[in-house]
């Protein structure tokens, strides 16, 4: 087959949907992408590609893709939209948002995104240029996705850390400094179907082939737990207790790295005292894990050199997620596995480049402390939660949805929704969000396809470019890389283009400083000494330079982490803090502790009598990214049905046969799923994949592509957030019962 050109670029949504990083080759003929392959010369993915990336052409050229701006002409929910021009769309949006700003203040508009993709930059630029502090992952209960872990890591060691798969070195596993982890703890994740938080999931498989042994902690058997030396089948939401018992064993048996702990940490005595409350015997009762297994896992992890922990989003969704993350973080610090080859290495973006200001420190540096403080005056949740006020720029979702309904302390009048299918995706208590969004005077949705959210509430829909149609860059750990457009589809524009244009209208100063988007990119890329075009022409990606703050290892010894250039860590004490001064400052317990899930056999036994099963939502599928891709034929046929995984004993007791439709219910509602009877789930849980809606069914109200029938978040409450405001969304710990569904013979 002949091609006109082959464009090398970076995968970062839209397309595969994910957190991106893979090197991609786009084969173009007659201004159409006709083939997508992995880039074998790229250090991140080495030519490999997931099914979602390989199905990109079906996604880009889908007959139902939105390819021009739309405005709603019928009532909300009617699905009646007509084509309009970009000028009309942007003029309407500008005029309506100006009216709302004049009448109610800029804070009455929420700028809503989904998970962290190529969106943080565009949306925060737009929100702040408009003047709203309310940049939010609307619906994400407890803001329980990575931010709790990031906050815990920043508080404990002044930096983030990730499992070392040599991803910061161009030579990868062949780097002479690198060592493969002797033991990997996979804590609450199945890395094969997804690539979370800038981490290519199959790097764990690469390590296994090179000798890494596994300890897996999960309520459900995965491919990894079946291959593990030790599998701890944990009660959902009790990860904090397990981490504290492991800390207990490691300290009391003196398995910790005494030299590292004495040189680089403070607070061991306090931690010892706290962890002593969590004996393996007591924690065995809490977690359902045998006492002997808890002790053996702690010993196996602590004795391995090096060892690394790879953790997943259920840590954030645990009750008091920020303290659970802190406890797990303490494990790699106690054992001296921080920033050593094959341990948990400190992760900074290459060259320190970020697509947008990330931490409070960066916000201060970029916008001035004054501006950030003014943001906090009206930012939803900032008053209630010191950690929300002081760590990152998010508004708090549980407080926000209440405010959308109550109008207190000030009214919310409009939502800008981009990269987020709120009602078909992350929103817990879907009905509550449906009600809240219906109250808005004005809703804009920027997306690629109609979905339950566009159908229910959009007034204007803007068509968004896929990764193959956009110019952007990705800076998430390493490498730093550019995203290069290959084609144009319809009138679609990138999230960056759309938001930059609108941001300039609200903030002319921005346009003076950055006449074009490229000028803005060049400014962000300044630390590299290269422009966007130079980086693209130099191959499109760069690993962090040697002997820099963004390149491992042992940077604390070399004075590369602290602003003052002294050895140590970027914490108040300059050391790793087992008892966190930041947590204390934020009014939180400085030490980790365990808290029962809001609904559980211990906390709500009366509810358990009625609803005896723990619903764990969110198990990943390699062919879907959250609520995306149900409409892509090559992908849907690999995972065709909204299922519930049920243990054979539970199925038998409830008269449920494999493949039959079942009702899953609690006091908040009922949904239906197709039973997959399998021994991989614990007999006291059911696993219910999230993000399901049925694009092949009626989109108009009241059906909204079947969300009331199949979306498991209908059953999940809001308002269970941690004391810190971050973490604790009950997506993994909601009690339910199951029964054979009546009358549905599909």
């Amino acid at each position: 087959m002949k091609y006109d050109k082959v464009v090398t670029t970076t995968a970062w949504s839209p397309g595969p949907g994910c957190h991106g990083g893979c090197g991609v080759k786009l084969f173009v003929r007659d201004d159409k992408v006709v083939r997508v392959e992995g880039d074998e010369n790229h250090p991140f993915s080495q030519g490999r590609a997931c099914p979602r990336l390989l199905a990109l052409t079906q996604y880009m050229y889908h007959p139902e893709r939105i390819t021009h701006p739309l405005k709603r002409v019928g009532p909300r929910g009617s699905g009646e939209f007509v084509r309009i021009s970009w000028d009309e769309a942007l003029d309407t949006i500008e005029a309506r948002l100006r009216e709302i700003k004049d009448d109610y203040g800029p804070e009455s508009v929420l700028f809503c995104q989904g998970t962290g993709r190529d969106i943080g930059g565009p949306i925060s630029f737009l929100a702040y240029s408009y003047g709203s502090p309310n940049w939010i992952q609307l619906g994400l209960a407890g803001h329980s996705c990575y931010t709790p872990r990031l906050g815990a890591m920043m508080a404990t060691q002044g930096d983030y850390a990730v499992l070392d798969a040599a991803q910061f070195s161009p030579q990868r596993y062949d780097d002479p400094e690198y060592r493969v982890p002797e033991v990997i703890v996979i804590w609450a994740q199945n890395p094969a179907p997804g690539c979370p938080d800038g981490f290519f999931g199959h790097w764990i498989v690469d390590c296994m082939k090179r000798g890494s042994k596994l300890i897996v902690i999960d309520p459900r058997w995965t491919w990894f737990s079946a291959k593990a030396e030790m599998f701890l089948q944990i009660r959902p939401g009790t990860d904090g207790a397990l981490a504290l018992a492991m800390i207990n064993v490691i300290i009391s048996e003196k398995l910790y790295d005494e030299k590292f702990v004495s040189e680089w940490t403070v607070g061991l005595d306090e931690l010892r005292e706290r962890a002593a409350e969590y004996t393996p015997r007591r924690v065995a009762e809490i977690t359902w894990i045998p006492e002997a297994d808890i002790i053996a896992a702690a010993r196996m992890y602590a004795k391995a050199k090096p060892a690394a922990i790879h953790w997943g989003v259920p840590v954030d969704k645990s009750p008091e997620g920020t303290t659970v993350a802190q406890a797990i973080n303490h494990l790699w610090c106690l054992t001296g596995n921080l920033d050593v080859p094959g341990g948990n290495v400190i992760a900074r973006p290459a060259y320190g480049v970020t697509t947008y200001p990330f931490s409070t420190q960066e916000m201060h540096a970029l916008y001035g402390e004054d501006f950030v403080n003014r943001l906090n005056e009206k930012r939803i949740g900032a008053k209630e939660y010191a950690m929300v006020r002081n760590f990152r720029g998010w508004a708090q979702p549980d407080v926000a949805v209440e405010q959308m309904i109550s109008g207190e302390p000030y009214p919310i009048k409009a939502c800008w929704i981009q990269t987020s299918n709120v009602l078909g995706g992350q929103a817990a208590d879907t009905r509550l969000h449906h009600e809240a969004l219906k109250k808005m005077d004005f809703v804009v949705v920027a997306d690629l396809f109609h979905n339950p959210t566009t159908m229910a509430v959009a007034d204007i829909v803007l068509p968004v470019a896929s990764l193959a149609e956009k110019e952007s860059f990705r800076s998430w750990w390493a490498p730093l890389q550019v995203i290069t457009p290959a084609v144009q589809v319809g009138e679609c524009r990138s999230d960056w283009e759309i938001n930059f244009e609108l941001a300039k209208r609200f903030n002319p100063e921005l346009g003076k400083r950055f006449p074009t988007l490229k000028d803005l990119f060049d400014d962000r890329l300044k630390p590299t000494g290269m422009s966007y075009d130079e980086l693209r022409d130099a191959g499109g990606w760069m690993m962090p330079p040697e002997n820099s703050a963004s390149r491992p290892y042992r940077r604390h010894e070399r004075g590369l982490l602290r602003p003052d250039g002294k050895p140590g860590f970027r914490t108040p004490s300059g050391k790793i803090e087992f008892a966190s001064q930041s947590y204390a400052q934020w009014g939180l317990d400085p030490l980790p502790y365990f808290s029962e899930p809001p609904e559980s056999e211990v906390r709500t036994p009366e509810l358990l009598a009625k609803y005896p099963l723990v619903m764990v939502s969110g198990r990943r599928s390699s062919v879907f990214f959250h609520s995306e891709h149900r409409n892509i034929p090559w992908l849907r046929e690999c995972d065709p049905d909204p299922i519930v995984e049920i243990h054979p004993s539970v199925a038998k007791a409830n008269g449920i046969e494999d493949g039959a439709w079942v009702t899953i219910e609690n006091d908040r509602g009922a949904i239906r799923r197709k039973a997959k009877v399998t021994p991989i789930v614990h007999p006291r849980i059911v696993s219910v994949p999230h993000g399901w809606w049925l694009p092949e069914t009626e989109g108009r109200e009241p059906n909204l592509f079947g969300i009331w029938d199949v979306n498991c978040n209908v059953l999940v409450p809001m308002g269970t957030q941690s004391k810190s405001g971050y973490g604790g969304g009950a997506y993994k710990t909601t009690l339910v019962r199951v029964r054979a569904a009546e009358g549905r013979g599909e």
């Binding site: 392959e37 490999r48 094969a192 179907p193 199959h202 995965t222 491919w223 737990s225 062919v623």
Partner: protein
């Protein structure tokens, strides 16, 4: 020319479906048509042991990506396999690899 085949190290196949979709794209097969298909085998062996095994199976539609390999490219499934557990080559070479490690399957599709 020597006969060629696909060696699958199914110890490391995670069932990610990349081979299936890579194959459909390469051969422009619509949904419902498979040049390779991943099979899953799950059984509880004991209270402490679960078998979860995946194995991709090349169907009658597999031509070993002759159109790619004839000019030095890897078959689409082999190139994109996220677990890097598939090898394309001469059968005699693949047999030699096979004797060195358990949990391998050798396919000679055509």
């Amino acid at each position: 020319m020597e006969k060629q085949g696909l060696l699958i190290d199914y110890e490391f196949c995670t069932g990610c479906h990349s081979c299936e979709v890579a194959c459909k794209q390469e051969h422009e097969y619509p949904a419902g048509k498979w040049g390779i298909k991943v099979n899953e085998f799950t059984q509880q062996i004991s209270e402490k042991r679960m078998e979860i095994t995946y194995l991709p199976f090349p169907t009658d539609l597999c031509n070993l990506c002759h159109q790619r390999t004839s000019h030095g490219e890897l078959p689409a499934c082999v190139k994109h396999c996220q677990a890097a557990c598939m090898t394309f080559g001469n059968i005699t070479d693949l047999v030699a690899s096979m004797v060195k490690k358990p949990k391998m399957v050798l396919f000679s599709p055509k």
